[in-house]
């Protein structure tokens, strides 16, 4: 996106006021202990409990396909547009491309996000692109790119996973040929606690080393072929923890599939009844 020079950003020295609140004086360990007490998380979930998902297609009228996902408080809009020529490309390529743009809305996080894509958003876009490229039949549109945009309206953790799941639904509802349905899930690990579908605080706290083992794991799986289309992990984890988390996350991803299926069937039925 071109840089908007006319937009005046807040002075660089501005900081979110939350840094000065009482919560910030607590040590990280205390904060984490507050986040999970007696095996129950702040929002009353068990560690292995996924938040409820709401999925809807066709919410962006101008897009070829679109989907809106709500996962707890995390809200993401994804839209897919018709294939278009790949800009700045002159040679012939057999497989089409997927262009992903993942963006946090400026007001979606506690800290204000800038108008331009920052490095985290770029990284998320790259992860999304790789996850989706494995499921889309790219040989069906050689020389073209399909644009996928994801906008996070509210980030309450697991935004990337929600975006990948929703993008899969948007692609399918746009009639883009796909090998499979894709679902994604996040796991936040800190010491012996593994929290599925973490909210914003849990995700943040798991990225900081409070215990020796910590980290965030994102898994994207295709439903029929049971293939890992993308796996991303950060932090510091042992091999055993990771292999275990692959299995458990895989199961979680499977649990999301019926939601996606139901949503897609609904969208097919609504189109049939219209015509």
């Amino acid at each position: 996106m071109p840089v908007d020079h006319k937009r005046i950003n807040a002075p660089e020295s501005a900081v979110p006021y939350k840094l000065f609140t009482k919560l910030n004086t607590e040590s990280l360990k205390e904060q984490y202990q507050k986040a999970i007490r007696d095996g129950i998380r702040v929002d009353g979930r068990k560690p292995s409990e996924h938040r409820k998902i709401f999925l809807k297609t066709g919410i962006v009228a101008h897009a070829k396909g679109s989907a809106y996902i709500e996962q707890g408080n995390t809200k993401v809009v994804t839209s897919v547009f018709d294939p278009r020529e790949i800009p700045n490309r002159t040679d012939y390529c057999l497989k089409g491309e997927i262009y992903c743009e993942f963006k946090f809305a400026p007001f979606s996080c506690p800290k204000r996000r800038l108008h331009q894509q920052d490095s985290q958003e770029k990284e998320c876009s790259a992860i999304m692109k790789k996850a989706l490229e494995a499921v889309v039949c790219r040989e069906e549109f050689p020389n073209f790119q399909v644009d996928v945009y994801a906008l996070v309206l509210h980030n309450d953790g697991s935004a990337l996973s929600a975006a990948v799941t929703a993008a899969g639904v948007a692609l399918a509802s746009a009639g883009i040929p796909m090998f499979d349905i894709i679902t994604s899930s996040t796991l936040a690990i800190q010491g012996e606690h593994s929290l599925f579908d973490p909210n914003f605080r849990e995700e943040l706290l798991s990225e900081i080393a409070i215990e020796k083992e910590h980290g965030v794991v994102i898994l994207c799986v295709t439903s029929t072929h049971q293939q890992i289309s993308h796996f991303h992990q950060t932090g510091n984890l042992q091999l055993n923890t990771i292999t275990q988390s692959i299995d458990t996350l895989h199961n979680t991803c499977k649990e999301i599939v019926p939601v996606v299926q139901k949503c897609l069937v609904k969208s097919v039925l609504s189109v049939i009844s219209e015509s």
């Binding site: 049971q226 091999l239 990771i242």
Partner: protein, 290 residues
């Protein structure tokens, strides 16, 4: 991955032979599946940098230099210094990098590096703090790809580790605080510097899936045979980042076996790197492009 996939390959027969040989645990250049190609490493090659290294892995050539500057820490993390990676894909390396051609690869590499170094267990940024909330050291790690011959992730991670190992941070003699002014006095003696602790610095291993077997350090022909690769960043036997390159998907079991292979190879790589770095003496007479 990005570049090599567009590279023209030699004939299909050669690829088929590669395929066949890999299932027999012998590769086209005589290596076994878990073997690396020979590497050459030099440190202290850039005189203006605080630490530098150059790595040559077969045809891949990487030059890494570390620059240090004084900066203010992030308000959210007042106790930590800063570490940033910049990858420059020079058009010298391959013509595809011309213009903005290498940008995607550069972003992928620097993202992977920064997420691998993010954990405190891996690299302790608190050591880079000069004064809480006010001043800290900022390390700029500039990675220059001089030649691309496959397996960039591994080469870059080794070179970065060696460069950080080589980095010397000036010692601070005194800090004068006068209201909002902070005056830092750096030790005059250029030889009294502190070295960074890089024992936890991660090494990345790219595990390539060919057929149903996994290999490390693929050459160009092998990268063509492969549908996808897993990059495993390993620090002190723990995995600090996993990412995928290419567009292929993996079966969970294959994926796990890739991780196991990656971790064991990384450990061996780590040992030999520490050994090699240990052999380098200070002020050894080596130069760039010797």
């Amino acid at each position: 991955m990005l570049i090599l996939s567009s590279e023209k390959t030699d004939n299909p027969a050669r690829i088929e032979r590669t395929y066949y040989l890999i299932s027999e645990n012998i590769r086209i250049d005589g290596r076994e599946r878990e073997d690396y190609r020979p590497m050459e490493i030099e440190t202290d090659v850039v005189s203006h940098a605080f630490g530098s290294s150059r790595l040559r892995l077969a045809n891949t050539d990487v030059l890494v230099a570390v620059k240090i500057e004084v900066d203010a820490p992030y308000p959210e993390r007042p106790l930590e210094g800063k570490l940033e990676f910049f990858v420059d894909c020079s058009a010298n390396a391959t013509p595809e990098f011309e213009g903005r051609g290498g940008e995607e690869l550069a972003v992928e590499l620097s993202n992977c590096l920064s997420s691998a170094y993010r954990s405190e267990e891996v690299f302790n940024l608190k050591k880079l703090c000069i004064m809480k909330g006010r001043k800290c050291w900022k390390l700029y790690v500039d990675i220059l790809l001089l030649e691309v011959g496959g397996n960039l992730f591994d080469a870059v991670s080794i070179a970065v580790k060696a460069a950080l190992w080589n980095t010397q941070i000036p010692k601070i003699k005194s800090i004068n605080v006068d209201g909002s002014n902070i005056d830092i006095q750096v030790c005059d003696d250029i030889f009294s510097c502190t070295k960074l602790d890089v024992t936890g610095a991660p090494l990345m291993v790219t595990v390539c899936k060919i057929g149903d077997k996994c290999i490390v350090d693929p050459n160009a022909a092998e990268e063509q045979c492969s549908v996808g690769a897993v990059v495993v960043a390993v620090s002190r036997g723990n995995i600090c980042t996993i990412s995928q390159t290419g567009t292929g998907s993996f079966h969970p079991d294959t994926f796990k076996s890739c991780l196991i292979l990656g971790i064991s190879v990384a450990q061996r790589l780590e040992d030999s790197l520490t050994e090699t770095l240990g052999e380098i003496k200070a002020n050894q007479d080596v130069g760039f492009l010797k």
